[in-house]
């Protein structure tokens, strides 16, 4: 019985431009031929498929796919093969022309239907929340430690550092929580602690950049418009990349194309937010960042040059 069952297999065919699929069941058949010719076991109406395109053979481990000198080749695991063999596990698919074939062995089982068993489904989510809270706390503790390191009688700097780290920790927790829910609803596995740790490290690195690198960039910025542009250019793509990292962390890859799209979107946003009208402000606001290091100054002006250069601030409202 079991032998017989093992020798039975199903090939599911997804034809182009058709919503439904066709199932072909084979028993005790060594080789199944696929092609446009009527002599084939599976006949495909697809112009990109050769007359005798390929063969499928079941073996002990799964399925062996052999391309037989087809014109366009066969795509297996995103690779095009010609006159070659490739291996498919049960449930995996290959593509010839515009048609996709999926192979199933006899003992292949469908996934369980989605049940609302919150007790077990929520458990991994809760685990991840604990990880998030733990990391959030770790970030705060790091901030306190850092504040203690550079202790300042007036607590000015600490407020800044705490504020930034608190924000970072908060954003991190929220992103992770959102990703957990996302993963849960898409029936994915919970991310490994390793990946979560990598995400946390990226968060810390980015927040450190904001705290210690950005002031040095701001030091040279001539006006508030440029400063706001720079802020947006730094913050928006940074946040988006972190968010995307967290969201794709469970798929094990980052989509470069989407990141680039987001980057350009944020450039446009930065430009417009830099131009946003603000409320009437009777106080002069200028880019006033100073840094502790002895920084090189690129455009050192004499008094005359300075006065000529500063004429630019007149006439702006005409």
């Amino acid at each position: 019985m079991s032998t017989r069952n093992n020798r039975r297999y199903v090939i599911e065919v997804f034809l182009p431009d058709v919503q439904t699929s066709q199932h072909y069941t084979f028993e005790e058949k060594d080789v199944v031929t696929v092609g446009r010719a009527y002599g084939s076991d599976i006949v495909l109406r697809d112009d990109f498929v050769s007359l005798e395109h390929m063969q499928i053979r079941q073996d002990a481990e799964g399925f062996c796919v052999r391309d037989i000198s087809s014109l366009n080749g066969t795509i297996v695991h995103k690779k095009r093969i010609k006159n070659e063999d490739a291996f498919l596990k049960s449930g995996q698919e290959c593509q010839l022309g515009r048609t996709r074939l999926r192979v199933y062995s006899a003992d292949h089982a469908l996934e369980d239907p989605l049940t609302l068993n919150w007790g077990t489904k929520l458990q991994p989510l809760l685990n991840n929340m604990f990880v998030a809270i733990f990391l959030f706390m770790a970030v705060i503790i790091a901030g306190v430690f850092y504040g203690w390191l550079i202790s300042d009688p007036d607590k000015y700097l600490e407020e800044d550092i705490y504020g930034s780290l608190f924000m970072t920790g908060g954003v991190f927790s929220v992103v992770l929580f959102a990703c957990s829910i996302n993963a849960h609803t898409h029936r994915k596995r919970v991310f490994s602690p390793l990946r979560v740790s990598i995400a946390a490290i990226i968060f810390l690195v980015v927040s450190s950049i904001v705290l210690f690198v950005v002031p040095y960039l701001h030091f040279y910025v001539p006006d508030m418009f440029t400063k706001r542009m720079l802020d947006c250019i730094l913050i928006i793509p940074g946040t988006i990349m972190i968010g995307m990292f967290c969201c794709y962390i469970n798929e094990g890859r980052l989509r470069l194309k989407t990141i680039i799209q987001f980057f350009f979107l944020s450039l446009i946003l930065a430009f417009f937010s830099g131009r946003l009208p603000t409320d009437y402000d009777p106080v002069p606001r200028y880019s006033s960042i100073l840094v502790a290091a002895d920084m090189p100054v690129p455009n050192l002006l004499s008094i005359d040059e300075f006065l000529t250069h500063s004429q630019g601030v007149f006439n702006k409202d005409r």
């Binding site: 550079i150 202790s151 300042d152 009688p153 007036d154 000015y156 700097l157 800044d160 910025v221 001539p222 006006d223 508030m224 603000t278 009437y280 402000d281 009777p282 106080v283 002069p284 606001r285 200028y286 880019s287 006033s288 960042i289 100073l290 840094v291 502790a292 290091a293 002895d294 920084m295 100054v297 690129p298 455009n299 050192l300 002006l301 004499s302 008094i303 005359d304 300075f306 006065l307 250069h309 500063s310 004429q311 630019g312 601030v313 007149f314 006439n315 702006k316 409202d317 005409r318």
Partner: protein, 432 residues
């Protein structure tokens, strides 16, 4: 009883004569109040309360005082009394009200923004008017100020002339109490001639008066002032302000400036006698995390264009900082904060009066240091040639835990004049 009284009679009589003889010293005082009463009675027909009335409600928004000054029923008051009507003529009208209940409408004929004067034309007022004095005053000379303080009723205040005030705009000091509401009222001498117009409260029981000769010259020029078609006075205000600021700028540029030290920095000194200078500081202790000395100079007489818009401020502020206790990063944080929060500007501009500031920072080589300098300017909305300008600057000290700050604020100058003044300021900053 009769026997005793005969003895008593002569000494009593003697004392009575003695007292009579010693009275003349007090008799003057009695006369003075007679004078004040006399002057009050004599001047009253020509002195009025000036009310700014909301056209929609018919109730007063503010009030001042004023007086008749010529046969053709011209009233004098302060510009600041009627400035709201100039700003919003569709909202307010001007009325005069006499102690006897007589009232009527007034219209603005001429203004002098710089000296805070306005001439108003009225109908139906009394024929009596006050004469302007052209006599020179002596310090201590008795003067009488009339006006209606706080809408309490017409009052007379005695005081004395105390010389001119140190200011870019000629003012007289009056040692007598002026209160809100008496603005625009006359101050007269013992003959009842107007020597000045009540203008501002300088201090407790010290008032500032506009000298009468400004009223005279305004009366001469009354026909020359023609407001714009829609009754707008902006062009006239701008012209007057420009002339005045031009005069002040020229004075500052031709003045010989001295220099003084603040720490290692050499800064301008005595740029004009009008500017008052103050200096102070603090040392590092529980309350302060750094040592600091500061010095600022500014003029305290500014020109009021309307209730929310004063201009003409000239000021500079220098300070130094150093610290033992603060870490390098902590100090630079402080330094940063002092650079970004400036003290030398007024915050009371409204959106309707000026555009917001535009600023640009650049790096300047001044003395031996490199400075980070913010240069800011904002344009006046109805007077497009005039700007408020501001410079805030700090030297870049690298990792050292000491620093300086420089602020210069010039309000209401044309850009050419502002630039000339900044050039002079910056060339007077040096290093020991």
């Amino acid at each position: 009883m009769c026997g005793i009284s005969r003895f008593v009679y002569f000494p009593v009589l003697f004392i009575f004569f003695l007292v009579q003889m010693s009275f003349p010293a007090y008799a003057g005082k009695e006369d003075m109040s007679v004078d004040a009463a006399h002057i009050y009675e004599k001047s009253l027909p020509a002195v009025f309360q000036i009310r700014i009335i909301n056209k929609n409600s018919g109730e007063k928004r503010s009030c001042g005082s004023g007086f008749l000054v010529s046969e053709d029923k011209l009233f004098v008051t302060n510009y600041h009394v009627v400035s709201e009507v100039i700003k919003q003529p569709e909202k307010y009208r001007i009325e005069y009200l006499h102690e006897n209940g007589e009232k009527g409408l007034l219209s603005i004929k001429a203004i002098d923004v710089v000296n805070d004067l306005a001439l108003l034309k009225g109908e139906g007022a009394a024929d009596f008017y006050l004469k302007l004095s052209d006599k020179k005053l002596q310090k201590g000379q008795r003067l009488y100020s009339l006006g209606n303080p706080h809408d309490l009723g017409m009052m007379i205040v005695e005081g004395g002339y105390n010389g001119p005030r140190k200011t870019f705009y000629e003012k007289m000091l009056f040692s007598g109490t002026l209160n809100p509401g008496v603005s625009g009222g006359p101050t007269v001498n013992e003959k009842g001639e107007v020597v000045g117009v009540n203008a501002q409260i300088e201090a407790d029981a010290i008032g500032g008066l506009v000298p009468a000769h400004f009223v005279k010259s305004l009366l001469k020029n009354v026909e020359l002032q023609k407001p714009g078609e829609d009754g707008a006075w902006n062009k006239i205000i701008e012209a007057q302000l420009r002339d005045s600021q031009e005069r002040i700028a020229k004075k500052l540029i031709t003045n010989e400036w001295k220099q003084q030290k603040l720490g290692e920095l050499v800064i301008p000194k005595d740029i004009d006698p009008t500017l008052q200078c103050w200096s102070g500081g603090f040392s590092e202790d529980e309350k302060h995390s750094r040592n600091s000395d500061w010095l600022f100079c500014r003029n305290f007489d500014t020109i009021s264009i309307n209730h929310s818009f004063r201009t003409g401020r000239i000021g500079y502020h220098f300070s130094n900082f150093s610290s033992e206790r603060l870490s390098k990063i902590g100090f630079i944080k402080h330094y940063n904060d002092t650079f970004s929060t400036s003290k030398e500007y007024n915050r009371d501009r409204e959106k309707s009066d000026a555009y917001p500031y535009h600023c640009e920072t650049s790096f300047l080589k001044l003395a031996k240091w490199n400075w980070k300098v913010a240069f800011c300017a904002r344009q006046y909305k109805n007077m497009p040639d005039l700007y408020d300008t501001y410079i805030g600057a700090v030297p870049l000290m690298g990792g050292e835990k000491d620093g300086y700050r420089m602020e210069i604020n010039l309000q209401g100058f044309t850009r050419e004049r502002a630039m000339e003044l900044y050039r002079k300021f910056l060339t007077h900053v040096d290093q020991k």
